[in-house]
Amino acid sequence: MDDFYRDYILDHYRNPRNFGTLEKSDVEAEDLNPLCGDQIRMQLQLDDGVVKDVRFSGQGCAISQASASMLTEMVKGKKLSDVARLSKDVVLENVGIGISPTRMKCAMLGLRVLKSAAIGELAGWPDEE
């Protein structure tokens, strides 16, 4: 944990990639971590089932924001069905091991939002049925 706040984590926190909002998005989702107040919104633009563009917005700790930022870099060009299947190992590889259990929710918030957007789109949102 001492070396948890590595340079690239702080870099993503200070200079988040794909940060902001898309004027037109095909799918989006938002969630928060009520314990910490971390908040993430993800928007995706799709082209034939492939992620063409992505933006995230929100606020929170370095872990949650950097983790979300790194995810957005990974999903561009990916099939939505692959995004829906992303595992938490991807996040653990991104942020490095040694994350304490209490901070795991922060690290996983971006993934949770991204996957719920993808799965919601693939399976159909409840309010559209």
């Binding site: 944990m1 001492d2 948890f4 706040y5 702080l10 314990l35 910490c36 107040g37 971390d38 606020q59 929170g60 700790c61 370095a62 872990i63 304490s100 901070r103 922060c106």
Partner: protein
């Protein structure tokens, strides 16, 4: 059980006392620290445990832990029933604990009702007293500082009865603004106020609010979760109608707390939970209830924890609540001074800046370091602080703080703890480059 009253720190009081006040305070604190086993255990990184989260829960002295063990090892039996020796002893120790709690807060013994915690005590009043006494058009007055546990039960009560919720505002330092108090009290049936803010440490001006609330015809409940552990308390002098607090924040175990209520109010209130132990006579179709406090204590009580809570209050009384307040006030002053040294680098201190108005709680943020990141880095140095919204989300929204770090102090904290906190803040500054 009672031999703990003369605990180590009192026996070792220096007789020749040519020391300054500060030295004596330091020596007493060292004797207290020796009574807390957890404070002698290093963290997994080999650091000294610097516990600055007593507003969340306090650590427990050996005497309290031993009281739990003694009950389970020596006289574990149900109370108010058995005729055999250990049952009689369990009943005696349990009821003696009630006497100790009554003495600690200046109440009459039957006015002390055992509950799980402050939250349960407030819910008990909201249901038992509130449901029968509030109607559409009445008002409930709270403050903007309230913990969720002194807010949500009243929101639900307002929904059930059609009563209106009002709030005593606070200024940008979290100090109560009483300019409109008379207007706010007009038509008010209940005033519920935190004695001390768990987020900012603000001590509520109860000596002003309570008489004016009574003059307006309102009943007053004080959420004492952060008051009873830290401030000398006399509920009769304060003239609170209800006073609620938890054992675990004042050296006692979790799962035990107290609702104090004025006897006349308690007698007029219907039971909250019902079942065994709270009855006088039960027929198939009808039940006559017991007198307070047992009218409100359905089922087997939390016997061991109540007994240990009694021991905790003896420990605090032996230390002296005036001393506790003085010790924390001095530590708060020192912490404010030390933290102020970081202000030029972007550290923001929230809440009142005058130690006379705060009870051992300081909320802060450091530049653009999120409170959770700051708390994680402090954790690597053995420093325990709370980070987040502190169960006061409306206050955080009002102030525009997404989260804050919070350091809170108790009898076992020292200036050295605050120095370690500041070293940790320095480290966080290095990691984040601020």
């Amino acid at each position: 059980m009672t031999q703990i009253a003369a605990s180590a720190f009192d026996r070792a009081r220096p007789e020749r006392s040519r020391r300054t006040q500060g030295d004596e305070d330091r020596a007493k604190t060292q004797r207290i620290i020796a009574d807390f086993p957890i404070l002698a255990r290093p963290t997994s990184r080999g650091k000294r445990l610097v516990y600055l989260d007593s507003a969340a829960t306090s650590q427990k002295p050996r005497a309290v832990i031993q009281a739990l063990v003694d009950y389970y090892e020596q006289y574990n039996a149900n109370i108010h029933r058995g005729v055999y020796e250990i049952a009689a002893r369990a009943t005696e120790e349990f009821e003696q604990a009630r006497v100790k709690l009554a003495r600690f807060i200046g109440a009459d013994t039957p006015e002390v009702i055992w509950v799980r915690n402050t939250t349960e005590a407030i819910n008990l009043v909201a249901y038992s007293w509130g449901s029968g006494n509030l109607k559409r058009g009445d008002a409930i007055l709270l403050t903007e500082l309230e913990h969720h546990s002194d807010l949500v039960p009243w929101q639900l009560l307002a929904e059930r009865t059609g009563a209106e919720l009002r709030f005593i505002p606070v200024d940008d330092r979290g100090i109560h603004v009483l300019d409109d108090l008379d207007r706010l009290l007009d038509g008010c049936k209940l005033v519920a106020i935190g004695h001390v803010s768990n987020t900012l440490g603000t001590i509520a001006p109860l000596e002003t609010i309570i008489p004016r609330a009574h003059a307006a015809g309102a009943v007053v409940l004080i959420d004492g979760a952060q008051g009873a552990p830290h401030l000398p308390l006399d509920v009769k002098a304060l003239d609170a109608d209800f006073y609620t607090f938890s054992g675990h924040k004042m050296l006692g175990p979790t799962g035990i707390g107290v609702l104090y209520g004025k006897r006349a109010l308690l007698e007029a209130m219907p039971p909250f939970f019902s079942g065994g132990d709270m009855i006088r006579k039960v027929e198939y179709a009808h039940t006559t209830f017991n007198e307070p406090p047992r009218k409100f204590e359905a089922g087997t009580s939390n016997i061991a924890d109540a007994i240990a809570f009694g021991v905790a209050t003896e420990y605090l009384q032996a230390a002296g609540m005036e001393w506790v307040r003085g010790h924390e006030r001095q530590l708060t002053g020192y912490a404010l001074e030390r933290l102020a040294q970081f202000e030029s680098r972007g550290l923001a201190i929230y809440g009142p800046r005058d130690p006379a108005r705060i009870s051992g709680v300081i909320s802060f943020n450091f530049a653009d370091i999120h409170a959770h990141d700051l708390a994680s880095i402090l954790d690597t140095e053995g420093v325990c602080v709370r980070a987040g919204h502190h169960c006061t989300m409306p206050l955080m929204d009002k102030m525009g703080w997404p989260a804050t770090a919070r350091a809170s102090f108790y009898i076992y904290n020292t200036e050295a703890d605050i120095d370690v906190l500041c070293d940790g803040i320095e480290k966080a500054g290095r990691v984040f480059g601020v």
